[in-house]
């Protein structure tokens, strides 16, 4: 009782946010978890199926493809935008006219992934890149990029990378500009070339920023949805779905809410686990 009496003031401030999170988040998560053990189409009464919805994720070829695609997306989203962002930031740091390039690289981030999807879908259509390839006399290289797996997944990853590299670059630039000068001077005096400087001085000093960038990318890449839905709707024949797309499709296109819920839970647990291990390993190293 004394806790309430002592802190009612502060609790009242917290109340709106707490209510919001409880109603729209915690309740929804619990509901989703419960539904995942049933088969339910929104019309008839739910039917208990136990762990069936979870087991089938690793057995049905459609879901296995989705799992595989999700892993590809996560890996490539980690390596390319982060790596490219880092390289761009190092290159831009010393460049004259940096401001122009910074803006050019950052601008794609200002548009939503949905718009990115629409733009790139047009680029991959027969009047986009393929037209260019034909003009260059390389017609044999043209493909129906979005209709042929696995080209479609990689095509969409390129579109997503185009959008997100700019932010990573900016974050790294901020990090780079806040680095102390001394270690670099010391390394230069010791005769380190640019390569060794980069790997043994710059990178370790950038660690805090890198942790943030990689962490953000990890979580975002698990839930990639809009760019895929707009460009291929997960197709053709469900070959380019990721877990978030499968979850949406099962729930709102096929009205298989139990299956969608199971996929949502697996996705959530996977991203929480991966993020937790990642943070434990990097921050836990305590430097």
């Amino acid at each position: 009782m004394t806790y309430l009496k002592k802190n009612w003031n502060a609790l009242l401030y917290v109340l709106p946010a707490a209510l919001f999170v409880t109603v729209f988040f915690i309740y929804s998560v619990v509901f989703t978890f419960v539904v995942s053990f049933y088969q339910w189409d929104g019309l008839k009464a739910p039917k208990w199926v136990g762990l069936y919805n979870y087991r089938i994720i690793f057995q049905d070829p459609t879901y296995v493809t989705s799992l595989y695609n999700t892993v590809i997306w996560v890996l490539l989203s980690l390596i390319v935008p982060v790596g490219l962002g880092l390289l761009l930031s190092v290159w831009l740091q010393k460049l004259k006219g940096q401001l122009v390039f910074k803006n050019i690289f950052y601008l794609p981030y200002a548009i939503s992934l949905t718009v990115v999807g629409v733009i790139w879908a047009m680029l991959y259509s027969k009047t986009g890149f393929n037209q260019l390839l034909v003009w260059l006399g390389w017609e044999h290289v043209t493909k129906d990029w979005l209709n042929v797996p696995p080209y479609n997944t990689f095509a969409m990853i390129i579109a997503a990378i185009w959008q997100v590299t700019g932010t990573n670059m900016l974050l790294f630039l901020v990090g780079l500009s806040s680095l102390p000068k001394d270690p670099f001077e010391a390394a230069a005096i010791d005769g380190a070339n640019r390569f060794r400087m980069f790997f043994h001085v710059t990178l370790p000093l950038l660690k805090p920023i890198t942790i943030v960038v990689v962490g953000m990318t990890l979580v975002n890449s698990f839930k990639i949805f809009d760019v895929i839905w707009v460009m291929t709707m997960g197709g053709p024949y469900r070959s380019s779905e990721t877990f978030a797309v499968t979850m949406y499709r099962e729930s709102f296109v096929s009205f298989n809410f139990g299956q969608g819920a199971a996929i949502a839970i697996v996705l959530t647990v996977a991203s929480i686990l991966v993020s937790w291990f990642y943070l434990k390993k990097t921050i836990g190293e305590g430097d």
Binding site: N9, L12, Y13, L15, P16, L19, F20, V23, F24, D41, G42, L43, K44, S125, K126, D144, N147, V148, M233, G235, P236, Y237, R238, F252, V253, S254, F255, N256
Partner: protein, 440 residues
Amino acid sequence: MPGKKAKWILALLLSFALVMAACGGGSGKNNQGTSGPQSDSGGKGGDSGSQQKITAKFYHDLPAMTDYLNEINPVVEKNDNVTYEIIPYSDTTSYQTTVRVGLSTKDAADIFKWWNGFRMKELADAGHLADMTKEWEAMVADGVDPGMAAPLTFDGKTYGIPGGVHYWVVYYNKKIFDEHQLKEPTTWEEFIALCDTLKSKGITPLGLTVTDFWPGFIWFEDLAIGMHPEFYEKLVIGQAKYTDPEAVEIMELWKSMIDKGYFSQPLDFNNEVAPAMMNGEFAMYLKGTWYTTFFEAVGMKAGEDYSAFILPSVNPANGYTVISEVTPFLVSEHSNNKDNAIKALAALTKKEAHEKWLTLYGGLPIRKDVAPSHPVTKKLAEEVSGKGYKLYTRFWEATPAELSEYASNEFVRFILNPESYMEVLNNIEDKAARYWAENK
């Protein structure tokens, strides 16, 4: 202490705002759609002084339908004192979800556009549709074709009205046909000869689409009803297998057409097909009679620049066959405005309203005393009734949603990889066998 009081008020206000937002937002963002403008009742409205004004909420997911309903409102208001309050949705997926989930609640849609066949049957079986059998008796007495009730009847009860009745036909670029002195084919051999002639002149015979995956079934169903119509009818209700010899035969014919190069590259039917046919990139396109508006939108004139014929049956012993689809308008059983909604919906089937509706939404008439004014539709309607065509329900509705979605995706796999036809048939049969084992 003034500080303390201010904090109290602020916290209270925030909580209040939050609760309000939660309640208001709870019914979904799209729910409060833009209602159509009030029909101007300054006119011949209220001719039967004792008649109550009947309004009903009309839910739909077709952007143009808002315009159609706005145009029909003056007509139904004048004749029956009915006004439709329009609730539009821009996205089919969120529309289906919202309507479906709302059916068992107080927010059940009064009138809503839906799909027939199994997609409607599951709503009827779950008791979510208002029985309109009695209303149909009055409608038939008023002149509606009683045969139109068949696709909307389950277990002896009829639900809703047919909002749009469409056939699946082969559109063609008339200018190309005229230029090369080509005629509409009346037999399957003539159709194949036509395709070969076009190919020899460097024109791709048939346009193709796989956009959004549902179009995968289009050629399958048309070839099926021309080759093995009874098999098709059994297949869609689980009484035949996708691996039966009839199905293999259908796929092999389809494959032969693909291998001969009859089909174009896949195009988006929303915005690429019509311009491509207009520009002569291909000569013919198999689609529903509702697709006429797409050709007109790019400036093609019905009867002059484009026309349509019904695909001749592959096997002439099967007679005249055509795929039909019916877009039903339904009333929810749990709507709190059910009786008015039923009356409001029936008003759309009266002569003047139906005549006007046909000019807006297109399709074939549901009344014997109304003829379509659209030249292409008129020609097709005359042919279908004149030659005694047998109608077959479109695959999408004829078989349960779970199977039509899966099969359509697999058919797209086949279209893009024709050698995979046996794998495709096996995949669909696996899914179908499991479904029918659990559901019958």
